[in-house]
């Protein structure tokens, strides 16, 4: 094994071991499990949901809030926390470069978030055959999309943590991002649209508008989940402020035909970019920082 891969692995294992003892993360995971479990159960018990796939689309709703929450809470201190306490000096005292440390931490924290996702969806998936009599293959695709959301949010949080020098700034970045992703995004977009067009966006919009929505990783996840489920998810955060457009397929929201950049793949690409770009920026900044 190359020294770099070895070092990344050491940091990732250390971080996973360290983070899994965090009570806060366990609490978030428990809440997430409770939500997905209850929603799947309720979807069946209320008798209005006939299909297991629809039940899954309900379970994806809480994932859209809990996955970023767990990733941000679990990730924003990853680098800057060690930088402030000085334990980073122990770690970098080993044959571990700054790049190794950053990547190892991103992987370690991603693994923790992946456990959260797998446990949460595991419960929902285990309940599905009992309640609906079938276990749809879509469950696998949705789990994969949710894992990708976990990677995106962890990449952002660990990137934020590596790019700044104080805990306060890292916290401000992830809280700011959470508020932007879950709440502000649609208003900013609608506001921008209004300034350009003198009218609020309707049910159908130009392609750039849909792309701008999709650049938010939570919208990208909603689009990716919709693609794997063949059914839009029950979201409380990626509501489109456009008269019920939330539940429409992309093609029916567009003025004109679907351009290549709005094909389903771009939703997955956006999530991958959120996983990688903040880390790349952090690698640059962290590589230059004085850690004395």
């Amino acid at each position: 094994m190359s020294p770099a891969r070895r070092a990344v692995g050491v940091v990732a294992r250390k971080d996973f071991r360290d983070a899994r003892r965090s009570k806060l993360l366990w609490g978030l995971t428990a809440l997430f499990v409770l939500f997905t479990g209850l929603i799947t159960y309720a979807a069946n018990a209320l008798g209005e949901v006939e299909s297991a796939v629809v039940a899954l689309s309900f379970a994806a709703g809480p994932a859209q809030v809990f996955v970023p929450l767990a990733a941000f809470v679990g990730g924003y201190m990853a680098v800057v926390g060690e930088r402030r306490t000085g334990s980073l000096k122990l770690l970098l005292g080993f044959p571990v470069t700054r790049g190794d440390a950053l990547l190892g931490k991103a992987l370690g924290r991603s693994a923790v978030v992946a456990v959260t996702v797998l446990v949460g969806f595991g419960v929902a998936t285990a309940l599905t055959p009992a309640l609906f009599g079938t276990l749809p293959a879509e469950a696998l695709g949705l789990t994969a999309a949710t894992l990708l959301l976990g990677l995106a949010c962890t990449g952002f949080a660990v990137g934020a943590s590596g790019a700044v020098s104080t805990r306060g700034r890292a916290m401000a970045l992830v809280i700011g991002a959470f508020v932007a992703f879950t709440f502000l995004w649609r208003f900013l977009l609608a506001g921008g649209y209004y300034l350009l067009n003198g009218a609020m966006p309707g049910k159908t919009v130009p392609a750039w508008y849909l792309l701008a929505e999709r650049l938010n990783p939570l919208y990208a996840y909603a689009d990716a989940a919709e693609y794997v489920l063949g059914q839009s998810i029950a979201s409380i955060v990626t509501v489109r402020l456009r008269g019920g457009a939330s539940t429409l397929p992309v093609a029916e929201q567009l003025q004109g035909s679907v351009p290549a950049f709005l094909e389903p793949w771009s939703a997955f690409a956006v999530l991958a970019l959120w996983a990688l770009v903040p880390l790349a920026i952090a690698a640059r900044r962290f590589g230059r920082a004085n850690l004395g």
Binding site: P3, A4, R6, A7, V10, R13, K14, R17, D18, R21, S22, T85, G86, S87, K89, L90, L91, L92, G93, F94, P95, V96, T97, R288, N290, L291, G292
Partner: protein
Amino acid sequence: MVALTISGLRKEYSDVTALRGLDLDIEAGEVFGFLGPNGAGKSTAIDCVLDYVHPTAGSVEVLGFDSRRETRALHERVGVLPDGYELYDRLTGREHVELALDAKDAAGDPMAVLKRVGIADAADRPAAEYSKGMSQRLALGMALVGDPELLILDEPTTGLDPTGVRDLRELVRSEAESGTTVVFSSHQLPQVEAVCDRVGILRDGELVAVDTVDALRAANGGGATVACTVPNPEAAMASGLKEVPGVESARIGEGQVVASCTEPAAKARVVGHLLDAGVAVTDLTVEEATLEDLFAQYAGDGEKSEVTEGDRAAAAPEVKA
């Protein structure tokens, strides 16, 4: 063979210059102590060696590896006890050593390491429960993992009780005997004197002296002071104490005359002179010049050349050990 070369090392922060062009060679197998008051630049120099901090100018080569370009290769051969670090609260002592073994790709028994630094009984407790002294011992154990060629210990006595300091000294000695180069920094001078082959005294970002402790002592009048309690110090002083061979200077203390000697035999001559002059010497104390005295001389406010024996005696008590 040179283990560590520092060339023209400069570090400027936006508001302060921490290092002003450091040049230093440390030989393989040597025990070298960086001395100086807090803020003199000791930790910055070590941080540059370990690539925690990037120098503004100059370079560092450790065992032939450039600190900026070959950081990983450098750290594969160096054991580090950093300054101002914290352990991982949630990991146990044993897990910390396992991390070090893992990271350095070294084989070994974590318990053997913990035994060596005297905290084997706390192996399975999380580090959050460790005292400062135990933490320091654990970090030292982690630095020793993988039998490094060079040990870098930044303020290693921090948090250690006298037993811990003694253990540390023994450990440094045994590492040095096995051929390891040891570089450490301290502002606690008496603890350094006993183990260092050479010391470098840093002041205000500059190395003001590099030599063996003995040589520094000799170069600075480095004998001892002898203080004689006498009934009438003024009269004793007037007997010509300053003219005794080997006495560099003499002054009047509280009910005492104090003579600074440049050679060991002068101490006895001082007492003999007083007795010959009919002065009743009722008590006698001898103090060897410690590194602390030398340190006060170099690290004090005055320039080296302006410091006289009297100034040194006056300045020494103000230096915080």
